[in-house]
Symmetry: C2
């Protein structure tokens, strides 16, 4: 038994540990409750300790974002497919509370590389687009996926809080087609864009 008694010898935390803690705080409290103090509490550490591992909160959030979108398996993983890649990205975002918002801010600040984007570019090139058109197509899809999912996840939150009246939806067309789920709506919008990309390939030939 050494001088520090039988207890653990003061465990040092690594960068991944901090990201782990942040992710579990996010899961429990959402992005509104994701404060540096709560992350520090989760690690049994003072807030200031976090600033040894990360220069600021945004950098920590970027690391969280990177973990969320890391290795989005296309399932098939080989042949690049626009629809499959976009859907896989959406599933990744949906898998984490407020995932779209977290990723959106890191992305906009240029702190995150989105692996899915390159796969979308490849898929667009394979479909026959020019280099420039393929980049535009990839960005359009990324904006759509993040925008749609962001909106969907914020509405989930609003529904829990009961803040917004649920009828004020972006698409009050629930009346016209009351059977449509968010998944169906997402797929329908995605099909629209993919179809546009396909005709751009034909046109640019």
């Amino acid at each position: 038994m050494n001088a520090a008694s039988a207890d653990q010898p003061a465990p040092r935390r690594s960068k991944p540990d901090v990201v782990d803690a942040a992710m579990s705080v996010l899961a429990e409290n959402g992005i509104a409750g994701l404060s540096m103090r709560r992350i520090a509490d989760e690690l049994d550490v003072q807030v200031s300790a976090l600033y040894w591992h990360f220069p600021n909160k945004q950098a920590l959030l970027a690391a969280v974002s990177a973990r969320m979108v890391a290795g989005e398996s296309d399932a098939e993983s080989d042949a690049p497919d626009l629809t499959a890649t976009a859907t896989a990205l959406r599933d990744r975002l949906l898998a984490h509370r407020d995932g779209a918002e977290v990723v959106s801010s890191s992305l906009a600040l240029g702190l995150l590389d989105l692996p899915a984007r390159q796969r979308l570019v490849d898929a667009a090139l394979a479909a026959g687009l020019t280099d420039a058109a393929a980049e535009v197509a990839a960005d359009t899809l990324v904006h759509y996926v993040i925008g749609f999912t962001f909106h969907e996840q914020q509405r989930m939150h609003a529904a829990v809080i009961g803040a917004a009246d649920a009828s004020v939806d972006l698409s009050p067309a629930r009346l016209a087609s009351p059977g449509a789920s968010p998944d169906d709506d997402f797929a329908a919008g995605l099909a629209l864009i993919v179809s546009g990309i396909r005709s751009a390939a034909v046109a640019g030939r």
Copy 2:
């Protein structure tokens, strides 16, 4: 001269006055600097006074959002056009600092009615889509416009701060087509979606 001396007799503020103040604070400080205290200072009032006019900050932000997107003139205003309406919405958002982010949050919380959405639905119907498809098309366009503009405006902010290295762009294709401006990229992505909508009209016939 009455009891309160020659000065103004303690000016009462109206709801629109509060929105005015919020918009000028937003213009000067951006969304990160848009605090209830700064808005109160702008009005020469205590913070707590704001809560007589609005129940909370989000409600005030929703009023600001509504003002931003009110009466987006399509220019022609009569024949509903997908491209013109989407472009007019983008111009509205760009006209206000952090406009896309402010509108995005109000929209997601169900606190804002976007007049442009109905015009997009009308345009899609005129193009020959079914009711349900027209709603999906409108939402897809709204997500694209807000997502693209949000990203663009956050990058403006990052550029001023110097926080993000400017090379980490969503579209590093600046290499492939170095002449393309955000406006060109926006128009190109928009054309992709509109083309997809057009073919949906043909397919659904």
